[in-house]
Symmetry: C2
Subunit: 149 residues, 2 copies
């Protein structure tokens, strides 16, 4: 796996992950049963009469899929720690059988003021489904390591 | 379980959940192995030399625990859908054996402009550990049902 260090990050450059994530009904239900057991996440019949019109993945599940994308595929950023997440939005329901793809675009980068071996990177993360409909986005702020000198 | 409808939500009122969440090492590792397999989440030995000095729960796990708090305990809000999450911050590491508690404070509420049966509520969610150290906070915007007329 290629590691993207702070020096490698280019502001404005969008990278689409080389992997996709296959959602399935069983995982939507299993995840939500434990973490967010609302009827539109765990009950196929009740979900039909919800605002979603059918079973949808819970927000925590989609957030977890974002973490999966960040740590899988041909490359990953040399993150030391996640500093924060802003403007998380579910734009469109994530449904059983969706195939999700993900891209990361660097919005801003700056050197750490206290430590020379790292920097701070703000990234717009976007998840889309198989119809190229954007289903989720968030701005992720990460502490990223520089290459060892 | 008591259901808190839009009319019941009081701006400025802080509600502490009646339940606590017991974190354990096995769950931290199992969750992160699937969703965020970085060494400081899944490898006890490697985690010691990370910035955290030991194993810590991944952000997606903490976010999932927030969803757990929202849906467990003596009462829950009559959410129709989550509209967004802002300013998610991990203030302090969540470690094995932590006992977490959670409170929700309504920051703002307004009627839906398009549908009379619901409103929009902005809530500050805070998770603290057994030492009363705030470990996580986020602002959650939710569409909340009114009582049936």
């Amino acid at each position: 796996m290629d590691i993207i260090y702070f020096e490698d990050v280019e502001v404005g450059k969008k990278r689409t992950k080389s992997v996709t994530y296959q959602v399935n009904k069983e995982e939507i239900i299993e995840f939500a049963r434990h973490w967010d057991p609302r009827s539109f996440h765990i009950d196929e019949v009740a979900a039909v009469s919800s605002v979603f019109g059918g079973l949808v993945a819970c927000s925590a599940h989609i957030f977890s899929i974002l973490s999966w994308f960040a740590t899988h595929g041909q490359s990953r950023t040399a993150s030391i720690a996640a500093l924060g997440f802003d403007k998380l939005r579910v734009h469109h329901p994530v449904r059983p059988s969706d195939t999700l793809s993900c891209s990361f675009e660097c919005l801003e980068k700056r050197e750490s003021q206290s430590k020379q071996d790292r920097g701070i990177v703000r990234t717009l993360a976007t998840i889309s489904n198989q119809q190229n409909i954007e289903v989720f986005s968030a701005i992720v702020t990460t502490m990223v390591a520089k290459r060892s000198q």
